[in-house]
């Protein structure tokens, strides 16, 4: 992200209850101009509710929201300078593509020629030239997604809110759209607040990630820090696959108490190098993943570790033969991270 420039959105003590459930519990968050911030968490963690409160679709029970230094906590959605891309796209089914994109400009009473020109430019920006007269029902999921993006971006909002916009797309299209979205965000320079439950998506796209659980932000940091140095066991468990070494195993293996995290890709099997941690064990499971192989190793000290190894020349058959063999696993002491609770 680089520029720790001006704060564009500031949340203070934001809370929301649904019945007896505390969906959002005292969230404080500063979002900077031009950054790509992801709200990551499992369903029910409060991430979408935070987004909907910023958009104005939900009223907070407590706390405040500031946009560009102005309090907008109690402004209706139609008076906020933010736009949303919805999970189900929410295109107007009775309007063609260009009318959908022009809708916000029409509300602002922008003259017809100007409106059309801006909408056509937005359509070109999402690479849908020539689709202006289609109805949403005549478009594929990916195309609808792009129309929804164009419809929001054409208004040049201060902040674009994206509510799991890639959730309904198949894997290949999703990966392509991740790249396009990121490129688009760099081009337009608008702040993106992106909600997802997909940790991989969060890590690849974001400048910063806020990990949510039970209505609270568990950790707010750069993707690499979230992954390498999770603040607590929830973040460690939710973001990526992690080996948590705790209790007696931690004392006997590492010679120190507490809970420690070692990522699977940091663990080597039968490495010729010496030094670092070493432990004996037996391979229980082998999973051939294509570019890599995942091993589940039962250690003699009584715990199991996941190890991930890049496949350079190994075939599926040769790694499969490693099942049930005795191996030595090893990792660097620097790969161990202390995890709270």
């Amino acid at each position: 992200m680089g520029s720790k420039s001006s704060v564009i959105i500031s949340l203070r003590g934001l809370s929301k209850n649904f019945g007896s459930v505390r969906a959002v519990d005292g969230v404080d968050l500063d979002i900077y101009q031009g950054e790509f911030l992801t709200l990551l968490g499992p369903s029910g963690s409060g991430k979408t509710t935070v987004l909907r409160m910023i958009a104005g679709f939900e009223k907070p029970d407590a706390g405040s929201i500031e946009l560009n230094g102005k309090e907008i906590t109690h402004l209706p959605a139609y008076e906020r300078d933010v736009n949303t891309v919805f999970q189900d796209y929410a295109l107007f089914p009775h309007m063609d593509v260009i009318s959908n994109i022009e809708y916000g400009l029409r509300v602002k009473a922008i003259a017809k020629d100007e409106r059309r020109a801006q909408a056509m430019a937005a359509l070109a920006q999402v690479r849908l030239d020539g689709y202006e007269n289609r109805k949403p029902s005549q478009l594929s999921g990916g195309q609808r997604q792009r129309v929804a993006l164009a419809r929001a971006l054409v208004n040049r909002p201060s902040v674009l809110l994206l509510d799991e916009p890639l959730g309904a797309l198949d894997l290949k299209l999703r990966e392509q759209m991740q790249i396009e979205l990121k490129e688009l965000q760099r081009q337009v320079g608008i702040t993106f607040i992106f909600v997802t439950h997909d940790q991989e998506e969060a890590l690849t796209m974001s400048d910063r990630v806020a990990v949510f659980d039970r209505g609270k932000i568990q950790q707010l940091d750069k993707p690499a820090t979230i992954y390498e140095n999770p603040a607590n066991s929830f973040v460690a468990g939710f973001v990526g696959i992690s080996n948590l070494i705790t209790g007696a195993a931690s004392l006997s293996l590492l010679g120190k108490g507490g809970t420690w995290l070692v990522r699977p890709e940091k663990i080597e099997i039968d490495s010729p190098a010496t030094g670092g941690r070493r432990a004996q064990g037996q391979i229980r499971e082998v999973e051939y993943l294509g570019p890599a192989t995942r091993f589940l190793v039962d250690l003699d000290v009584g715990i199991s570790l996941m190890a991930l190894r890049q496949n350079t020349s190994e075939s599926a058959t040769s790694v499969a033969e490693m099942r049930n063999t005795k191996v030595t696993v090893s990792w660097d002491i620097e790969s161990e991270y202390k995890v709270e609770k």
Partner: protein
């Protein structure tokens, strides 16, 4: 191989056998009772009548149609009938749209079934009971309506076209509310949110998003209110005073001159066909 197994295999491999088994009963119902009665109506309308005995003579004639089309009186009745049906449809729509909107999108989800039950409660009472109730309310001097508006210096319209329009609007309102409610309930919240998100105030969202998307549902409701009004004659008899609609003409003639009554009865059928065709052309049925 048991009979059950062999018949199962037969149906499995013969698509047309399956379709026939599924649809023969509903098709028989539709063909014999519905299309058949319409055909009988049409055939009767091109027969003659023995004016002395009032017995139908099965000989071809177009005189019934010529009478209907050339006599100014029948043209006037047709115009009045269509006018009443249009008025009833508009009144029902104007009341039903905000009502359905309230139930589907404003009221709490748990109170919706209760409100819908309240809307259809009048359908549980007999048609005649409701219309006679309106008759007492509409009575020129002693009626409830007269009592209600007399402090304002007004008087009840009494029996006539206005009373018929009020009575029919009351009767058919649930048939307008239900499809519009279904259409508005189906509308995703995100579409309404999206409109607000793009800067539209609630009034604009209602006119530019909610109303156009639920338009097919409104048309569906109007098909009920319009066709039911076109064919009604009992309400007209009870509330209409000297006012008459096409149904009354049919009713008065069918004992004396059945072929002529059949020709008159074809008018609402034709009007309905024209209405359906124009609605279809407008594209309102595309998304039903």
């Amino acid at each position: 191989m048991s009979i059950a197994t062999s018949s199962r295999r037969y149906f499995h491999s013969h698509v047309w056998a399956r379709i026939t088994a599924l649809l023969s009963l509903p098709l028989a119902w539709l063909g014999v009772l519905y299309i058949g009665s319409l055909a009988a109506l049409f055939i009767t309308s091109i027969w003659k009548i023995d004016t002395f005995t009032s017995k139908v003579v099965r000989e071809f004639t177009l005189s019934n149609f010529i009478d209907v089309l050339t006599d100014k009186a029948y043209f006037n009745v047709t115009v009045r009938t269509v006018g009443v049906a249009v008025a009833v449809t508009i009144i029902c729509a104007v009341i039903a749209i905000p009502m359905a909107f309230f139930i589907a999108r404003v009221a709490k989800p748990q109170s919706r079934p209760v409100l819908i039950a309240l809307v259809i409660t009048p359908l549980w009472a007999s048609y005649l009971v409701k219309i006679y109730a309106w008759r007492t309310m509409m009575a020129p001097d002693s009626g409830f309506l007269n009592w209600l508006v007399s402090p304002l210096g007004l008087s009840s319209p009494g029996f006539g076209m206005i009373a018929v329009i009020i009575g029919l609007s009351y009767l058919w309102l649930p048939y307008m509310v239900l499809p519009i409610y279904a259409g508005m309930e189906k509308l995703p919240d995100s579409i309404v949110d999206a409109s607000a998100d793009l800067g539209a105030k609630p009034g604009r969202t209602f006119l530019k998003v909610i109303l156009p998307i639920t338009w097919p549902a409104i048309i569906a409701g109007s098909l009920f209110t319009f066709s039911l009004s076109l064919g009604d004659y009992i309400t007209v008899q009870i509330l209409g005073g000297t006012f008459q609609m096409l149904g009354n003409v049919v009713y008065q003639n069918f004992a004396l001159n059945l072929p002529f009554a059949a020709a008159v009865a074809l008018i609402p059928v034709i009007v309905m066909m024209v209405y359906l065709a124009s609605v279809r052309k407008s594209g309102a049925l595309d998304n039903l």
